[in-house]
């Protein structure tokens, strides 16, 4: 089998490697996690799973991304679950998840242990005050990042504004908020013949 090249998007099952076992899944996902330490996790995941290891077609991979974004849970973790489950069901999903998280989670735990030991030191607290200000800017940017998608959908904007006000000013909790608004939103966006005619 040739190394990764542009011929590496197999359109037929013939171009694919043998379905990975549990061990392969664990190692493969670990490789994805390690490669993406600088960011770009889904790009790395695609490169390794589709182009290098040839476990699945690009089409299947993109389907996985759609499912991962649609269902609850962190997108990258859901993607690992999708890959694992596609080949080895529930055990595959759990092994892929473990492979994806082992190193980053251990690292984060080490960071946490250090943090709780030293965060009361005034110098550390001062540096953290700055880091926190920057991180808050990242949090603030999340909404703006997807705002553009809804520019032409006034109903979506009104719904989003209502949810923002309910949470930010009336301190409505997340679970009841979602349980009430999700059915309403789903009813509005339910695919209807009449709506399609309007568009």
């Amino acid at each position: 089998m040739p190394p990764a090249s542009e011929a590496s998007r197999p359109s037929s099952p013939d171009g694919l490697a043998q379905a990975p076992g549990l061990r392969d899944l664990f190692i493969g996902m670990q490789e994805v996690a390690l490669s993406s330490f600088g960011g770009g996790l889904s790009a790395w995941s695609q490169r390794i799973v589709v182009e290098q290891r040839r476990w699945m077609t690009n089409e299947d991979f993109l389907t996985g991304l759609t499912v991962a974004r649609l269902f609850p849970g962190p997108n990258q973790i859901n993607m690992a679950v999708y890959i694992g489950a596609s080949f080895r069901g529930l055990p595959g999903a759990l092994v892929a998840l473990a492979g994806m998280l082992l190193v980053p989670f251990s690292l984060l735990m080490a960071l946490g242990l250090v943090y709780f030991q030293i965060h009361r030191i005034p110098q550390v607290d001062r540096v953290l005050a700055g880091v926190v200000a920057a991180a808050a800017g990242m949090a603030l940017s999340m909404g703006f990042k997807i705002l553009d998608t809804y520019r032409r959908d006034p109903v979506a904007l009104v719904l989003a504004a209502g949810i923002f006000v309910a949470m930010a000013f009336f301190h409505v909790r997340l679970i009841p908020l979602v349980l009430v608004t999700a059915p309403l939103a789903m009813a509005w966006y339910w695919p209807r013949a009449s709506q399609q005619e309007l568009r």
């Binding site: 997340l174 999700a182 309403l184 695919p191």
Partner: protein, 205 residues
């Protein structure tokens, strides 16, 4: 200035009185709290941050405001999915019982937040061909978008106001927000520069 920061820390802590629990009781509290939230982590999980803040600072008094903000920043700065913040929050919940309980709690909390959504994702992956063309899928996908949008704005505001910010800190946050939207510079740089500014005393809580 730093004295003031620590005073505010103490003041926040004093406002919140935790229910006294055994170490195992605390672990059960952590797991029981995160388990149902797992299924509500829309839009990749960041939508849960305001809820995490409410739970760990206001409801159960696991952390102070400043600690919550610190842990958010740590999770963002560390490699890997930033949703692993749950591990840090759960570590904080049990920190009084020692680092070992902190670790046990961290694993418990992380498992709790991941397990339900993982099981659902397995079902979804295996039955996607049937789900794909269902009107439920279409309505779910379109309907949850605006909800996620609203929640993310509320989350952004919550994080912004969580650490008691001075004007320069607000300015830093807004500058980083604009840079995040306009450039592709790694946010680690922003955190490093802001950390430096904080270290020399320009940004205070």
């Amino acid at each position: 200035m730093t004295g003031m920061g620590l005073d505010t820390l103490a003041a926040t802590a004093a406002q919140c009185t935790p229910v006294s629990l055994s170490d195992l009781g605390r672990l059960a509290q952590v797991i029981w709290t995160f388990l149902p939230l797992s299924l509500f982590s829309l839009g990749g999980g960041n939508t849960l941050l305001a809820e995490y803040h409410h739970i760990s600072v206001e409801e159960f008094c696991w952390l102070t405001n400043a600690q919550f903000a610190d842990l958010y920043a740590l999770a963002e700065a560390a490699p890997g999915p930033s949703s692993m913040i749950v591990g840090l929050l759960a570590m904080g919940a049990a920190w009084k019982e020692g680092p070992l309980w902190g670790l046990v709690s961290a694993f418990g909390g992380e498992l709790a937040i991941l397990l339900p959504s993982t099981l659902l994702m397995v079902l979804a992956s295996l039955s996607w061909n049937r789900l794909k063309d269902s009107p439920w899928r279409v309505a779910f996908q379109k309907g949850l978008g605006p909800i996620t949008l609203g929640i993310l704005f509320a989350v952004g505001l919550k994080i912004l106001t969580t650490a008691n910010h001075g004007p320069l800190a607000y300015l830093t946050s807004i500058a980083v927000c604009v840079l995040m939207l306009r450039t592709r510079i790694s946010p680690l740089w922003f955190m490093a520069v802001a950390g430096l500014l904080g270290g020399v005393g320009l940004i205070n809580r």
